[in-house]
């Protein structure tokens, strides 16, 4: 009964947030160049990107159209690898002048002491660093034998600053699923406070590598691991908001599943496209900063993001959980969009059924 009231209230909250669609979180895909060649890359980045980095003035011209700035508005620099941009600090300072906060998602490879200091000086406030396993499994996924050591150095630097709110993300896959306890201990020893785990969606390079996808049993193993970690509270562990996880809602996160893509989360992509999270199928772009007014697009378009009824297709059509899941994370709709790419809840239910049979 109590649980039903909570769920009902959350649905109402989600509906009101959708109607309000306040822009809180803006990704800027500032480069698609990358210094690594990760096996799981969803964006198919490369060292020599076919796209030029977006000139900073083009980005600022777009965001200067924003008429109502929400209290927690943040620009998240993503890529590619954002640290490859030499003008990152200048861009950060420009954002702070406008009263915006900013943060970066990085593979940590170029995050040394000098860069740490210059980023802090420029007003960096939050950071996400990827660590995908112990030495061997991390370097395997990152396709680089020096990556682990560099990431650990980056984590130590980030941990040394009280100013930065940072977390570690780990792509859980076949090679590291049984190392999670070790990774947790490593992070605790490095004074990391927050750790976010996600699985790899089979898009980009990841679609060609079966070692990257968890089996249904392994997925449930991951959920159980997160639940146990959250009980012990040694470190703030959570599952990312990549998908709806049925009976594990909201045990693996601070809140029930709510994909805020296009509701609170927008993006300006490398070619000027206006969309939501950068891993969303690019055919969902709602406009382009070179031809449209960014804020007007945010205010008046984004209908497929704000009314998800169209996702009642394929296996979602008759799903009993649709009102809580709403077609899963938006990035799970790719290609012909006739069915959801991954159903996290299906993995859980299939495993639970097998366990009952045994």
């Amino acid at each position: 009964m109590f649980s039903s009231i909570k769920k009902y209230s959350f649905r109402k909250f989600r509906d009101s947030e959708t109607k309000r669609h306040e822009l809180n979180y803006l990704f800027w895909e500032c480069t698609t160049r990358c210094n690594l060649n990760c096996l799981h890359c969803g964006s198919d980045c490369s060292k020599d990107s076919s796209h030029q980095d977006m000139p900073a003035e083009d980005f600022f011209h777009a965001i200067d159209t924003i008429k109502e700035i929400s209290q927690n508005f943040t620009v998240v620099f993503t890529g590619g690898e954002p640290l490859l941009r030499k003008d990152l600090e200048l861009c950060g300072k420009e954002l702070r002048k406008r009263g915006f906060k900013w943060s970066i998602v990085t593979n940590g490879h170029l995050y040394d002491k000098q860069r740490h200091i210059s980023l802090l000086n420029a007003g960096l406030g939050a950071l996400t660093i990827s660590l995908d396993g112990t030495n061997k499994s991390h370097n395997w996924l990152r396709n680089n034998e020096k990556s682990f050591d560099k990431v650990i150095n980056a984590i130590e630097l980030a941990s040394s600053s009280n100013r930065i709110n940072f977390d570690i993300v780990t792509c859980v896959n076949q090679k590291n699923i049984n190392e999670l306890e070790q990774i947790k201990e490593l992070l605790i020893s490095k004074n990391v406070k927050a750790w976010r785990l996600f699985t790899i969606i089979p898009i980009g390079r990841a679609s060609h590598n079966p070692d990257l996808t968890l089996t249904n049993n392994q997925f449930v193993q991951l959920m159980d691991f997160i639940v146990e970690c959250r009980k012990s509270k040694e470190i703030d562990v959570k599952f990312s908001c990549e998908g709806y996880v049925g009976k594990y809602e909201p045990l693996v996160r601070d809140s029930y599943f709510f994909c805020r893509a296009g509701i609170n989360i927008g993006s300006i992509l490398i070619d000027g496209s206006i969309s939501a999270c950068p891993n969303i199928d690019r055919t969902f772009s709602q406009g382009n900063i070179y031809t449209d007014n960014f804020y007007s697009v945010w205010e008046n378009k984004f209908q497929p993001f704000r009314d998800r009824k169209w996702t009642k297709l394929g296996q979602c059509e008759s799903c009993k959980d649709f009102k809580d899941c709403q077609g899963n994370g938006f990035h799970n709709w790719h290609g012909d969009k006739k069915n959801v790419l991954v159903c996290h809840n299906e993995k859980i239910e299939k495993t639970t059924k097998c366990q009952h049979r045994v």
């Binding site: 009231i5 909570k6 769920k7 209230s9 959350f10 109402k12 909250f13 009101s16 947030e17 309000r20 809180n24 979180y25 990704f27 927690n72 943040t74 998240v76 993503t78 702070r96 906060k101 900013w102 943060s103 970066i104 998602v105 002491k113 740490h116 200091i117 802090l120 000086n121 420029a122 007003g123 406030g125 939050a126 950071l127 996400t128 040394s160 600053s161 009280n162 100013r163 709110n165 940072f166 977390d167 993300v169 927050a194 976010r196 996600f198 990312s240 908001c241 990549e242 601070d254 809140s255 029930y256 709510f258 805020r260 893509a261 609170n264 989360i265 999270c277 950068p278 994370g329 990035h331």
Partner: protein, 124 residues
């Protein structure tokens, strides 16, 4: 007024579902939120004897690895963590190049989100 009412309703409805991360969220591939707990410190360093700006002075935050060097105009500008009793250190680290100056420490009180400092260094 309408906005205020909407905000109150939003908080009530959100609160009823008893989850703590309603208004502070992060995108699945994004960063955590920045809570903005810093301040901008700007200023200029000049020579007491000549009144001219001094280039190359290291402006650092005590007990912290952050620093910046003053530019041609003796100017510096950086963000740092908002802390009571924040201590800044001004050091001449380039020996006799740009003159030779005594170091100086300054403790900041009455912190605000943006502070401007005029610093005068004495010749050694």
């Amino acid at each position: 007024m309408i906005n205020m009412r909407r905000n109150v309703i939003r908080k009530i409805v959100g609160g009823l579902s008893l989850t703590s991360a309603m208004f502070v969220f992060q995108a699945c591939y994004g960063t955590p939120q920045d809570f903005g707990l810093d301040l901008l410190i700007e200023g200029q360093v000049k020579s007491k004897a000549t009144g001219l700006p001094i280039k190359g002075i290291k402006v650092s935050v005590a007990d912290n690895m952050q620093y910046e060097l003053t530019d041609e105009e003796g100017m510096f500008s950086f963000y740092t963590e908002m802390l009571e009793g924040l201590k800044l250190q001004f050091q001449d680290i380039d020996s006799t190049q740009n003159g030779l100056y005594a170091n100086k420490d300054t403790v900041l009180t009455d912190l605000s989100k943006k502070m401007y400092l005029d610093i005068v260094l004495e010749e050694k």
